[in-house]
């Protein structure tokens, strides 16, 4: 079966679209490209594949860019049908593109032909050859992988009412797309009007402060993609117009469902799902109105949700590749030191989800480069510090950031553990342990011939062979990885001791923020990480519970971002009551305000217009923010109790917290299959389907 796909330099699809995404922020008529160093996709490539054919074949190469095909060194234009005889042939495609993603599609004239583009091809930027990158989203030749293909959904307004002499439109849901306004009277088709957009009615009604405004537009003009629930058209009477909206989304399949006897929790799941779907396109973004950027901390949490809703193997990887960019790393991801570390930790989480060792292999050099960067900025005790332009974020909170801070060190310790684990898994592989089910999209075999090809000037070109990412590693590489694993383990152990020596306050039963300031301030953050990542031993965890988590003198977490870590830690420590309460109060509180998606932040004390402000901006708060969707993870992971106990859910656990429910009818994916959990009249049933 011939199943050609578009191929590119691995990671470049994500770098390219990640940059597009990060350039898309808009605020009150101005563009706001993200304020960090953006890595570049490669502009000039050579794709290659050696075939040994039993019979003659005919194929055509399509490409995005300028270039040509070479068959056994013979140049042929792109787009031309090519016939090759039986025997061995080296097919090369040289292609360059400055404005788009250089990529190719090789189509065989026969269904059963063997020459077609897929991840068994190699690709080369004239430095190193690597296996080609692919996506299940780009499988047809007429596509352009440089453009996102959105699925479009027509949305009718819930209400169109007259207000202050204009038309106020409420779609009753968040739309990420474009409004379509049609005047009933054809003669008005050239009539200029203004559209004010709002996530809230207040925002749409505020011509000065709404984020998005389209002035002087006409009905026939296609508008750019924006997020809104409300529209306000000053000076237009509702009767004059017909309104709809075209919502655009990247097709992603929801595989989970949640129904219980607690209607509020059901609604929380629903609104979380809606929020999550809106914030996941090619990548996990933070929010649909603002920032529309790919942030590593936000993405980390979205990746935790993924197995409990989509179980989509590709969106995590697309997001990670976009965040990380090329192998060389000089600036932390999003400029934030802790975000770099969360990125690294998420690789292991992803591996636990789908068991795709080829992906770990692909990422491993980028992970090592991250560790080298981190170690390059450690002090004599092994503690990581921020460099001049680094951002030590952790959270918007009053953390004592004097000198190296404890939360960063716990993350660094966890990173060492992840590295030891990943290096160990790669070193263990003898090539037989990957099931077909868990193969990456980049992982099939490539012909092994190693005769050097000749370049345009008769000089040897790079090898015509490249090992796929899931190929067994050579013995010396396995040995090297074993040694690396041991080094990381040792680093982790040393670091753990140093952290305890410098930050652990036995009396407080807590890690202090900073040991240099002398203030011995305690915040929840480092302690939450310590509990969550098993940095703390059982005794210390108990101390952290009473010394920090249940200690009302330690300031509460105020952001849903870090609330996620806290709730995850509570879940891990077995305090489901705490999570249950929070679900009802915090997320339930937003529902009571009529939220159709979950917000960046919710403060019950704020009412009316005030509740939409943030960062000193009256509508600065995002009302559809990915991290608002964490109840899906919390419910799936702790209340339905589903979790993998080995990579790729080869084994997994289902341990529902029955005390919270009288009824359950839920489905959670576990790899290609799902578990169906029902509770009815005190009877629990769990089945795999």
């Amino acid at each position: 079966m011939n199943s050609a796909v578009w191929i590119w330099y691995p990671g470049d699809f994500e770098i390219y679209h990640g940059m597009k995404q990060n350039f898309r922020r808009e605020e009150r008529g101005l563009g706001w490209p993200a304020f960090w160093k953006m890595d570049d996709w490669r502009k000039n490539l050579r794709f290659f594949r050696k075939y040994e054919l039993k019979e003659a074949e005919t194929f055509t190469v399509y490409g995005r860019g300028v270039g040509h095909v070479q068959v056994d060194g013979q140049k042929i234009p792109i787009g031309k049908e090519i016939s090759v005889s039986a025997g061995t042939h080296l097919i090369e495609v040289f292609i360059g593109s400055m404005t788009g993603l250089p990529c190719i599609y090789v189509e065989n004239s026969a269904e059963e032909g063997s020459i077609y583009s897929d991840s068994t091809w190699g690709v080369d930027d004239f430095l190193e050859a690597v296996p080609a990158g692919t996506s299940s989203l780009y499988t047809r030749r007429e596509q352009d992988p440089g453009e996102v293909e959105y699925e479009e959904l027509l949305v009718q307004p819930q209400s169109v009412t007259e207000k202050d002499g204009g038309a106020l439109i409420d779609f009753g849901r968040m739309v990420d797309g474009r409004p379509v306004i049609v005047f009933k009277d054809n003669r008005d088709s050239e009539r200029a009007f203004t559209i004010l957009y709002g996530e809230s009615e207040d925002e749409a009604m505020d011509a000065a402060f709404c984020y998005y405004k389209e002035e002087n537009t006409t009905a026939d003009r296609e508008l750019r993609k924006r997020a809104f629930r409300f529209l306000y058209l000053p000076g237009i009477r509702p009767g004059e117009i017909e309104v709809r909206a075209v919502h655009q989304r990247v097709p992603l399949k929801v595989r989970a469902s949640f129904h219980s006897d607690d209607e509020m929790v059901n609604r929380i799941w629903e609104v979380s799902e809606e929020t999550y779907k809106l914030c996941s396109g090619l990548f996990f973004i933070d929010g649909i109105k603002r920032d529309r950027w790919v942030w590593s901390g936000d993405a980390y949490q979205s990746m935790m949700v993924n197995p409990y809703l989509y179980f989509d193997r590709e969106i995590d990887k697309r997001t990670s590749r976009a965040l990380r960019g090329n192998t060389e790393i000089r600036q932390h991801i999003n400029t934030i030191v802790d975000y770099t570390m969360l990125w690294l930790i998420s690789i292991q989480n992803e591996y636990m989800m789908d068991g795709d060792i080829a992906y770990v292999r692909e990422m491993y050099p980028k992970m090592e480069a991250v560790m080298d960067l981190l170690f390059s900025q450690t002090d004599e005790r092994g503690f990581v510090k921020g460099r001049e332009r680094d951002w030590i974020y952790i959270d918007w909170a009053d953390i004592d950031k004097d000198g190296p801070i404890s939360a960063e060190q716990v993350l660094l310790w966890k990173c060492c553990g992840v590295m030891a684990y990943c290096a160990g898994r790669l070193a263990d592989r003898d090539g037989s342990s990957v099931s077909d089910d868990n193969r990456s999209e980049c992982g099939q075999n490539i012909a092994e011939s190693r005769k050097p090809a000749l370049g345009p000037d008769g000089r040897p070109l790079p090898a015509d062979h490249v090992a796929p990412y899931d190929a067994p590693l050579p013995a010396e590489e396995r040995q090297r990885l074993k040694e690396r694993a041991a080094i990381y383990e040792e680093k982790a152990e040393n670091l753990r001791q140093a952290i305890l020596d410098y930050y652990w306050d036995e009396e407080k039963g807590a890690l202090i923020d900073s040991f240099t300031s002398g203030r011995r301030n305690v915040t929840r953050h480092a302690n939450i990480f310590a509990a969550l990542f098993d940095f703390a031993d059982e005794e210390q965890k108990k101390q952290i519970c009473w010394g920090v988590l249940y200690n009302e003198n330690v300031p509460q977490i105020t952001t849903p971002y870090f609330k996620f870590f806290e709730l995850d830690a509570l879940g891990k420590l077995g305090d489901l009551d705490g999570i249950w309460k929070m679900l009802h109060e915090y997320w339930g509180g937003m529902l009571e305000r009529g939220a159709v998606t979950f917000w960046e932040l919710f403060d019950p004390a704020e009412e009316g217009r005030a509740q939409y402000g943030m960062y000193g901006d009256p509508f600065g708060k995002s009302l559809c923010h990915a991290w608002g969707a964490s109840p899906i993870y919390l419910l799936g992971r702790y209340f339905l109790g589903v979790r993998p106990t080995s990579p790729g859910y080869a084994t997994y656990e289902v341990k529902p917290a029955l005390q919270y429910f009288d009824k359950l009818d839920c489905t959670i994916p576990v790899g290609k299959k799902s578990v169906h959990i029902t509770l009815e009249s005190g009877e629990l049933a769990v089945s795999e389907c």
Copy 2:
């Protein structure tokens, strides 16, 4: 006086356009992007400048890309007039572009206003801040620095004749542009026809093998830029059409002239000038039909010609920046080890031409990175060797390339000397030695304030100050450079000794190619470099003359590329007769064949169609090739005897070789001024004007 210019990240203009240039090769209907790693221009930038204003000012920022302006942290859209009060202000512009060159133009509303974009601005890719890049070609706000602005010249055909049932058009000169064909009968405006292009008539008449062919075109369609002298339109009668061509060129001013009593030499100068002009656009390219690429070896020679024709300070630098790309270097320039070294040597040549120390400062880190790469591939004797995918070129000749070869070592020795010189010059600078005349386009003062600006999230942004490239260096940097200079000197001395030990054959009076093969083969190449770069002492030079240069048993140089080095060496050794003979025979020989530009290669033995073939391709030879223009250098440097004796022609020598001429009336630029040399009735007059 307010003289705003477009500004960008320094070097990125050249990387961007260099890539465009290197993607422009076309061959018989297929595209051929250059086969090397292409560095990327930066997509996401922050421009900044702090101003201390005595009075309020009004200005507007224009930009190519998405982004916004920040004045003291306040966001303002691009394209909007901005007013600022008297006092201190930080102006920042954030701009990103994926498809073009991100760049800005800041225009003041008042002639005498102080806020406008120029090289005193800093620019930042969110890693390091550097002084902004500029070009004298982009000074008007309506321009787009992402597009080359060509000057267009209408060319009328010299003849249109009927041949084999079609129209053969001869423009009598090389055109790099597009043909314009108009049918006299308006009804033919939709008529489809074919254009065959040729540098020679043979090529244009050969539908199968001509390089460029436009099939199925119509009179109203604009054709792409191509090089040709002849066109052939099959099936079109000359009477049916009107033909012209639009020649496109980057405006570059010829400042030299050469008239002597030797008509052949005059004509050689003329045709060299024509060849050189055609092969210099934004960059020095190799040839106009083929490859249209920027090659370092070719550019090295074009840069030698430059002071004797244009004395253009910018084209050398644009070419060097395009060749070298970003600071990190993993692949040799054009993949060729010797081309990397010639690139480095050319920096000193450029400095000798215009004395622009700011440019040396800008390039110095890129030069050090080159040296690090070279040293990373030396053996225990200090000899540089090719890595797996490196190309050890030197010349198309039978050089014994076993093991490290001598020609590469002589270049490496020269590079050490260049580094010692440049590091020394930079270390010597106390900030007072650069006259205004010799300032780089990147070299004025920038406000010195160092208060950190605040970013979008209240975090400190990079400094709002960056030292210009010609600022005095801090003492510790000067000390470091002094130490580097000493290290390079020592390396050069050690290398010289090793080269003599391993390659110098006292008996042959020559450097052998290889000491590992045991063949002790002698070619001219290493010996020419040894004489040219003063590796050889006076005694050894004499030995090389008789042992190699005048030794008919040592195979002749066959390429004009290396012939240039040989003639330069002869000139240096004082053998002007040898050059004079070569001018008349080789270049004169091409003139006798009716050449209107000089060729990539000339072999008097080849006649007819055969003379156009090269690389196994019947029309593979470029008939307008930059290195064909070297007579301008040879005549200017050795026969008019003009050369700088200190950087920037602060002092220079004029020493015409009067024995070859009865009459001379020549002008050669020497910095901003020129020397006028006349010889008439045995009387020589030299004046500066």
